[in-house]
Symmetry: C2
Subunit: 300 residues, 2 copies
């Protein structure tokens, strides 16, 4: 397929953003463009890179590469699921590529996993070009919903306990474009309403300590204004800006240690994991001094 | 100054290397080129970036930026110094930018710090363009030697105990060019000879778990063939490839926990540190599962 894309020059795709990470750029060499379209929601590019496998790009921002996607999928999934003592019902908002769902269904204790994705095109393209990520989308435990995550949460009645979740994972794109609302207080309130009493929420923060740490601090303050127990951790992903991505974890169980795996992976589960283990679960909450001062020691 | 450089195009400097990280590139926007020359040893470029402060580039590879240099300097310095119970005499090989020496002299227990740099130009340029890194080069504790680190070590007699060190830090550039010999077995043997019985050595590995992990594994095996106690840790640095850099730590005290700060920073010391703290000292040795399997569980 001969596709031109504004961000591909001389055979290299370059990610730049004056708004989010001014003055720096990350490039991947393109072997072949596999797909480019404008869906109802966003600009979607899929290319085969020479060294990172297939790459999914939404609105110019790398969402995942086949080479390092497991670092993100495993940490955003297994941290809340192992921090929870008995997770049975899981909700994933966004994440149409299927990577998070693939990790969720590895847990035998999880009975149902709902995937809410606004953009059907992302799921179709992932099934075609990211088969190792989308491989579990048709798992019998998985319930697929094509709708806006925000709307989906609004439809959960506050007294409808059966409709609530043990773990909710927000695997959205960044706050520009369709995912903007996922970084506002109302969203945290909707998550709170959709969560069982001892439930745990995790979201990708779209930031890390090396970028806009003040924005990150504000986002954590917003989370703290809704949840009584909030933590920050991160995962290392070379194809993301600064080589890492922050995750915000929240619960209303005040004394629950979010930085600890309260259940240990069975040997069968651990065998299936390339990144996560209980030690790195704990280590991922430990921050360099300057970041710790800004993110962990401010007043709630 | 109007300087053209092969790696600057349309106002952006781009770091690429088919040999070491094929298919990916990292770019920084250039505000102004401050210096470009070919010294007797290497191609030296210094530019002011729009968002990372001044940047030092040797042979096309970013050595440090003012924005994130502390992450590297602090971790490569404070990990061995706090893992050591009584460090008095420190040797730094390479590191003419002065960043490591600046960290070394923060320790009141350290009585002398020798800096061995082959390329005088690097020190001069750092004093001019990286004043916050080179600020301690004229500290009274510092003894500056302009020579090849390899030669310097060869001149230390095996029975000359007074000439040996408690901590040796190898702050070299990558194994291409003048630093190639720093990644060979003979170098580890020379380090071993220059070390006091309970001494600790640390070197930048020029690699990380996301790049050539097999080469990294071999380098660790080489270290293990010389030292009875070897560990791998890392620091996160956004301007380095993959956003992190590996560090190899070695000692001949078999039971010494290298991943533990055996002395705690005084509050005055901790006040001067932006990255290091005893918790991140320990956390930096904890690896994702696949990397842990390759680097930590192989036979010695």
């Amino acid at each position: 397929m001969e596709v031109q894309h504004a961000r591909i020059k001389n055979g290299w795709f370059t990610e730049v953003s004056d708004a989010h990470f001014p003055g720096q750029g990350f490039s991947l060499r393109v072997e072949k463009v596999l797909h480019h379209s404008q869906s109802a929601f966003q600009d979607i590019l899929v290319f085969k890179s020479t060294d990172f496998g297939n790459v999914l790009v939404l609105d110019g921002i790398v969402q995942c590469t086949e080479r390092d996607e497991f670092a993100y999928q495993e940490m955003i999934t297994h941290i809340p699921i192992y921090a929870h003592k008995n997770p049975k019902k899981v909700l994933v908002i966004g994440g149409g590529d299927g990577g998070v769902i693939r990790e969720v269904v590895k847990h035998s204790c999880v009975e149902s996993a709902t995937l809410v994705e606004i953009d059907k095109t992302v799921i179709e393209l992932s099934q075609r070009y990211l088969p190792e990520m989308s491989c579990s989308i048709s798992d019998p435990k998985v319930n697929l919903q094509f709708c806006d995550g925000f709307q989906f949460l609004r439809n959960i009645g506050s007294s409808d306990l059966d409709a609530k979740y043990d773990v909710i994972i927000t695997d959205s794109s960044d706050p520009d474009g369709p995912a903007e609302a996922f970084f506002q207080k109302e969203y945290f309130q909707l998550l709170n309403n959709a969560l069982r009493e001892d439930g745990i929420v995790i979201m990708q923060a779209s930031e890390n300590v090396w970028l806009n740490i003040n924005y990150l601090g504000e986002l954590i303050q917003t989370a703290k204004s809704v949840f009584s127990n909030t933590g920050y951790c991160y995962t290392t992903v070379p194809s993301y800006t600064s080589g890492q991505l922050g995750l915000i974890v929240c619960s209303n169980e005040k004394d629950l240690r979010l930085d600890v795996a309260h259940r240990l992976p069975t040997s069968e589960e651990q065998q299936k994991m390339k990144y996560y283990n209980p030690k790195i679960h704990h280590a991922s909450f430990i921050l360099p001094t300057w970041a710790d001062r800004i993110l962990n020691t401010r007043q709630a």
